[in-house]
Symmetry: C2
Subunit: 233 residues, 2 copies
DNA sequence: GTCTATAATGGGATAGAC
DNA sequence: GTCTATCCCATTATAGAC
């Protein structure tokens, strides 16, 4: 199909999306890094709003304030640029799972995970949308990341949750499906923001919506797991 | 922007996507209806896999086993065909809310709603993906439906849930955000199926996955609402 | 490194025969 | 009503001047 194999680097410690700069380009150069970030920011927005096929290099160039040819100079092709955007998003999300460790109180750990995920939905909704779009269309670019690094992380966290359950510290919930629900319940405030705004009759997703949403998700999930919220929130 | 206004029919009883056949075409004709369904099925699949921009009329035609020009004969433009696909999906989903009525037991009502929604994720994942894609990209075609009919339905069901809470029949949960969580937790098994399969290490989403998923979502949400599952499920 | 101009492709839409 | 052949535009990518 496509060259998705080049994304998979099972021999390396980190199974991220791999080498994303052009073959001949050295990574250094403060100016280069700044230009790349400028282009990635613009691309994230356009890919989020239009999808991969709907996005145009011209549109990304205009949003970045650069001529179109510069994008090709820095990233070669539209697909490479798209993969670079995805890689940045995965880097962003990988850390939230660190809260789920055996020694921590389950209620505190889950509340912290929800807080972090809601934070990214609030501050980086465009990144979330690009990722959602990629998954809906069958994950052609990130399939190896999902079945590799992400699967191993989920397996590890599944054991943590099973440990909590075995110790009687929370109700017997399917750990993997609990995580699916956590992903869905938090990311919906970024991905489906248009629907939520519409049915709430709001022009914008303000802080107060996210405050209520965070309290709701935390309370509902923790009660669902037989836990009490750690704080008055 | 676009002609979204034509979708809004505030004076009619039903705020669906409105007249979707071509202006001159009479609706009758058994053969016509069959051909339209054939095209809509193919279009749903291609739009789900590729998005609106990524989908090609050629690809839809091949999937339907028809020449490309026939699609234009029946639906005029690509956008009209896309709107017809969306309209069919909304018709499909509108009924699940009927379970949430004041006189019914909250646990039974919510469990029935979850069951129906999981059923659609299981049997019509492509439809769910087309809708998800539309919302992620800002709901350009269904904005009026969301802020019209769907908002009114949600407002009505909010009052039902508030009634249950006021009567002490369930825990005090924000009704609207509860619905957002229900939508997210059920539709994720259709929309994010590629991710779920990848991290579960499965080639296909079989019945057993949906069985576990349904039990999980029902149990977690009902406990989160301070309710006990109505059956042994 | 940056930009203009252009080549090459792909796809939506339609004309017109049957 | 159905289908083939074709038009025309938008878009990716690149050549080559600066």
């Amino acid at each position: 199909m496509n060259d998705a194999e080049t994304l998979d680097q099972p021999d390396e410690t980190d199974e991220t999306l791999g080498s994303l700069s052009r073959p001949g380009a050295v990574s250094g150069g403060r100016l280069r890094r700044a230009r790349e970030a400028q282009i990635l920011d613009a691309a994230e927005g356009v890919f989020a709003e239009a999808g991969f096929s709907g996005a145009t290099m011209q549109g990304i160039a205009e949003r970045a304030g650069l001529p179109k040819a510069n994008l090709h100079y820095y990233f070669g092709t539209k697909e490479t640029l798209y993969r670079a955007v995805l890689a940045r998003i995965l880097d962003l999300w990988v850390d939230a799972f660190d809260h789920l460790v055996p020694e921590r109180d389950p209620a505190e750990a889950l509340a912290a995970y929800i807080r972090d995920k809601m934070h990214w939905s609030r501050t980086r909704p465009l990144a979330s949308k690009v990722f959602a779009n990629e998954i809906i269309h069958g994950a052609p670019q990130v399939a190896d990341y999902l079945s590799g690094k992400l699967k191993r992380t989920l397996d590890e966290k599944t054991r943590v949750i099973e440990g909590w359950i075995a110790a009687g510290r929370m109700a017997p919930v399917d750990p993997r499906h609990l995580v699916f629900t956590l992903w869905a319940a938090t990311q919906t405030y970024a991905d489906f923001e248009a629907q939520i705004r519409a049915v709430l009759g709001r022009e914008t997703m303000d802080d107060d919506v996210f405050l209520v949403a965070s309290r709701h998700v935390t309370g509902l999930i923790l009660r669902g797991c037989g836990l009490k919220p750690p704080r008055g929130g």
